[in-house]
Structure formats: C-alpha cells, structure tokens
C-alpha cells in the first residue's frame, strides 16, 4: 500500500481480555514507532524499532504491553489483561531514515475502548 496501514480501526474489548493491534509500515521503511494518544492529549511514545537493532522499549507503560516486528516489516502491539485506562488511540508511524530524511508517516490509528 501507499501508506501506513493499521488494523483494526476500532476495537472494543472487555476489561481483562488481551488485544493485538497490527501495523503495516510503508515498504522499505526501517524505522517503526508506536504511540498512544488519549483524547485531547499529546503523543505518548511506547516503542521504537530501527532495522535489526534492539527496540527501544522505554515508553511501554507496564509489562502488560509488548510489541514485535517480524522480518523488519509488520509490527504487532499486544496488550494483555486490558484495563480501562488503556482506552486510547494507538498510532503507528514508519520512517525511511535514508539520506537524512527522517519524517514519520502515521497510520490512521486504532481506537481501543476497554469496557
């Protein structure tokens, strides 16, 4: 595809259930970010993948959160035992990191609602 694709676009889950959010970055982009955005708030950094390097997980809020990036492409963010405070929009972005160009291209996000 031409842009960053995220699925599902909306997810409603019961408290305590696990959820998986998917991100398909732009082909060839080596960097991939996950952010969380609560209503009316800024971008909360979660995790950063860059090529084959170890990911920067410093933003993950608890051990219930984990993320993988398989084959340097698709990424999955997993939230275990969801809590109501996990409700937010989860945004994925990818970046080419080529020739000094580092701009991030964002997906449309996944709106997660924990009831």
């Amino acid at each position: 595809g031409a842009g960053v694709s995220q699925s599902p676009s909306n997810k409603v889950t019961e408290k305590g259930k696990d959820v998986e959010l998917r991100c398909d970055p732009i082909s060839g982009h080596t960097a991939l970010y996950w952010y969380r955005q609560s209503l009316g708030q800024g971008l909360e950094f979660l995790i950063y993948f860059q090529g084959n390097s170890a990911p920067d997980k410093s933003g993950l809020p608890s051990d219930r959160f984990s993320a993988e990036r398989t084959g340097g492409s698709v990424s999955t963010l997993t939230i275990q035992r969801t809590q109501q405070e996990d409700s937010a929009v989860y945004l994925c972005a990818s970046s080419p990191l080529l020739g000094g160009r580092t701009e991030a291209f964002f997906g449309q996000g996944t709106r997660l609602t924990v009831v």
Partner: protein, 112 residues
C-alpha cells in the same frame, strides 16, 4: 535523554489573528520537523528544517530554526478555521537510531 518542549499547550484565537507555537530542545538538533494533526485525524508531516537560522514558508505558515539549533517556531498569519488542530514539533534523538522525539503539541482553536 533529549527532551522537546512546546509552548503554549493550548491557544484560542479569533479568526484572522496570528498564532505562534514555540519548540525548545534540551540538546542541539540536526533537524526539526513540524506536524499537524486535525481533530479526529493523525499527525501529518508539514516540513523539515535543517540549517541554523533557516526560515521556510508555506503560504501563511512560517517556520524558523534557531541559530543554535535548539529551538524552533511556527507562525501562522491571519488564522483560518481550517488551521484548527494540534501542531507538533519533533527532533531526532542522539541515539544511533535517530529516533524522533515529539513535543507535547500546541492545540490551536480558531473562533469564526
């Protein structure tokens, strides 16, 4: 680690008034980027500044990069209702991966 701070957090203006948001970094930046997020949308890249003291314009938007490459500003002349949204600045970190660090954003509201 590197921090990118933005002020103000919110700004209400009357349509036709000017608007400025400021971005400050705790470290020197190789470049600074600006993004706009419309209500209900996702952040969209606007521009990248690279050179010390650089000024770039996009119609009514003027972007500046400070001489010390530690601060930047976005100025909108004669705001319109279409300018409503949150404006974020972002700079690459100092790690080898050049991870982008975003400021907290400035939410602009325009009264018609």
């Amino acid at each position: 680690g590197q921090q990118v701070m933005q002020i103000p957090q919110y700004q209400h203006v009357q349509e036709g008034e000017d608007f400025t948001t400021y971005c400050n970094s705790s470290t020197t930046l190789s470049n600074i980027q600006w993004y706009k997020q419309r209500p209900g949308g996702h952040p969209v890249f606007l521009i990248q500044l690279v050179k010390s003291g650089e000024v770039k314009k996009q119609k009514r938007l003027t972007f500046q990069f400070g001489e010390a490459k530690k601060n930047s500003s976005l100025h909108i002349t004669a705001t319109q209702t279409t300018d409503v949204g949150t404006y974020f600045c972002a700079g690459p970190g100092n790690n080898a991966g050049n991870m982008l660090t975003f400021g907290g954003g400035t939410r602009l509201m325009v009264k018609p």
